[in-house]
């Protein structure tokens, strides 16, 4: 098989993920796009490992590690998104402009805006 096929597919998948990260508004959709980018890298690692016939199979070992780290990342990322949603009442990333915590978790928007104004 030509190496160009997996390499080009991986490039296109990566750029699709890049578009999603930049264009999406919901934080969970951004996480999905990050998954697409990670998978593009995995495809590259596997293809180059099979091409080079590495004795240590570094590409495949690194792919397994990437998959595990991506699973950890999605777990932590979703926990953070859920916490932000609970505190602020939204998970739209372009509405989350202040880095400080909202003081009142129950009615999130007004204190967050006040904190933004005082900051």
């Amino acid at each position: 098989m030509h190496l160009a096929y997996p390499a080009v597919l991986s490039v296109l998948l990566f750029c699709t993920g890049l578009y999603g990260v930049l264009a999406r508004r919901n934080a969970i959709l951004v996480l999905m796009s990050v998954e697409l980018m990670l998978n593009a890298v995995n495809l590259n690692l596997v293809a180059f490992d099979v091409w080079l016939r590495d004795a240590l199979h570094s590409g495949q070992a690194l792919t397994l590690f990437t998959i595990a780290i991506a699973a950890a990342e999605i777990g932590i990322g979703l926990a953070i998104v859920l916490m932000v949603y609970r505190n602020r009442g939204t998970s739209d990333i372009d509405k989350l402009r202040d880095t400080a915590e909202g003081h009142e978790p129950a009615d999130a928007t007004a204190p967050a805006e006040k904190a933004e104004a005082t900051a």
């Binding site: 390499a7 597919l9 796009s33 998954e35 596997v46 397994l64």
Partner: protein, 189 residues
């Protein structure tokens, strides 16, 4: 001209694809289409379901590249657990079911320009670099479970153990983050 050059160098042209290449190409087109739908659809739950198709297509691509073990790990971890986590996340953040008008933010044109520019540049570079490179898929499978297990537990034991510690830390971190704080709970009750 370029194609003819490739043929004379390797004996394998792009115009006479092998069966594996045709399968790879077809599955690749389906995967890419599913990925594009994932990042463009306006229904949030459908995005997660299209992600299943894209990740499953990638598992088939790993199988075609003779990396069996990674293909099954991909199916188990990504299709099995990551997408379920994402669906739960969508559910817990009360994502609207059905069409939502504001799935894309205001910088969509800029994102389109950046993605198209990087795709053009990277495809050009990659095709220019690897158009004559041939992957030899003959012989014993490169990524059977036996081979993967041997290399993982002979040469990669220490990173493997470090990774298990990292997973444990991530698990504890996720639990800590998603717990309600004590004063929050008192306020609710």
């Amino acid at each position: 001209m370029i194609l003819a050059h490739a043929v004379t160098q390797t004996g394998n042209g792009f115009l006479s694809p092998t069966g594996v290449e045709i399968a790879f190409l077809l599955v690749g087109i389906a995967t890419l289409a599913a990925a594009v739908l994932t990042v463009t659809t306006r229904q949030l739950v459908h995005a997660a379901l299209w992600l299943v198709v894209a990740l499953g297509g990638l598992a088939v691509e790993y199988l075609l590249l003779t990396a069996e073990f990674i293909a099954w790990v991909q199916v188990l971890i990504y299709v099995g657990s990551v997408v379920v986590l994402l669906l739960f996340g969508l559910m817990l953040t009360k994502a609207p079911i059905g069409r939502s008008a504001d799935a894309d933010s205001g910088n969509r044109p800029a994102a389109l320009v950046v993605a198209a520019a990087s795709a053009t540049a990277l495809v050009w570079v990659v095709v220019d670099a690897f158009r004559t490179t041939w992957i030899d898929l003959e012989g014993p499978a490169q990524g059977s479970t036996r081979v993967s297990g041997e290399i993982l537990f002979r040469h990669w034991v220490l990173p493997f153990e470090a990774l298990s510690v990292l997973l444990l830390a991530a698990l504890v971190g996720a639990i800590v983050l998603s717990r309600k704080s004590p004063q929050d709970r008192e306020g609710k009750n």
